[in-house]
Assembly symmetry: C2
Homo-oligomer: 202 residues x 2
């Protein structure tokens, strides 16, 4: 009997060790997928954007100064960052209505893959910045509905937020025109945006 219990306990221990060894994902969209070869800039960019669940969205304040703000997003599997922003209760949405230029910056660090040196600024620990324009999406447009479905699926808590007009929540997309990627011991790369958007095998 003790032998049986000991074996069961040992098995549980093995399972827990395995769980601890697995990189812990922090709320990323979709299902976990293996890290692509860093040399493939397009695939790697699409993977990093798809696996991330939040990032820092930087816009310009009324004086034209940079203002970063933590925001959740979803790419809906298309590589396009969609956001659920309030234009009334948080500065970023309001800033975007006045000056749409923005950048979304993500680190691979919170995904749990930067274990070799545990150093977020080490170039092999990937970082990406998508720059472009924030555009508000009409609520019943095809893309507005797509954005809502993607965001509420990846971030179920957002679906329960109050929707009264005085909260000012709208769906936005970042229309990307530049990608900045560092994921190798090499200078930053700027993957072609059209190739990034067209990539369909994720």
């Amino acid at each position: 009997m003790f032998q049986h219990r000991s074996t069961t306990t040992l098995l549980s221990l093995v399972v827990f060790l395995f769980l601890m060894a697995e990189p812990r994902r922090v709320g990323g969209a979709g299902s976990p997928s293996p890290r692509p070869a860093p040399e493939d800039a397009i695939l790697f960019s699409r993977w990093l954007v798809n696996q991330s669940s939040y990032g820092v969205l930087a816009t310009l304040d009324p004086l034209g100064l940079p203002f970063g703000n933590v925001m959740s997003f979803s790419d809906g599997g298309k590589g396009i960052p969609y956001f659920y922003l309030t234009t009334l209760l948080d500065p970023t949405g309001a800033y975007a209505l006045r000056r749409p230029r923005a950048s979304l910056t993500l680190s691979e660090y919170p995904l749990g893959f930067c274990t070799e040196t545990n150093e977020p600024q080490w170039p092999v620990c990937a970082k990406i910045t998508l720059s472009g324009r924030l555009r508000i999406l009409a609520p019943n447009s095809r893309e507005g509905v797509f954005a809502q479905d993607a965001l509420f699926r990846d971030h179920p808590q957002l679906a329960g937020w109050p929707t009264q007009p005085e909260r000012g929540f709208h769906f936005f997309k970042l229309v990307v025109d530049q990608i900045f990627l560092v994921n190798l011991m090499a200078p930053a790369r700027y993957p072609n945006v059209k190739d990034y958007i067209r990539y369909n095998n994720l």
Copy 2:
């Protein structure tokens, strides 16, 4: 004998369960310290900055557009973000020399405390943005040495990086003039910067 082994295994299991339940810190500076009451905006801001090891540093590109970039930092226990930036191999350092306005944005999410809803954009999952000016520190100045010691202690990997002039690495500080904090189901707060810097009990 089996009974003894079973007890030992069970004990190991309990230890591992405890380790798993502990929020996993991702490279934060200093030693882990308990989450302060969110109502105390000054203490909470100092805690979040001190416990974080990296963030997104947003500057203005040559066209005046916002560009966020993942950077490690250390506050050296003083609440002041210090960075080790290259002005030659990465855009942010070069941008900062031309236009020093910048913001540093951090999320509490990667610290492992946002477990209640697992949603980075939920207001109770804290976020902070420190805005100000990036200033380069003279290498042998008192503050330059302090920044170097703090950064190399919290980010040992940086200490091994090549220091040739053609790499262009310098120590920078963010001279903070505005703090934006969201950590409650309430509008953003703007803690007083002097009180933040003066706070000494961390």
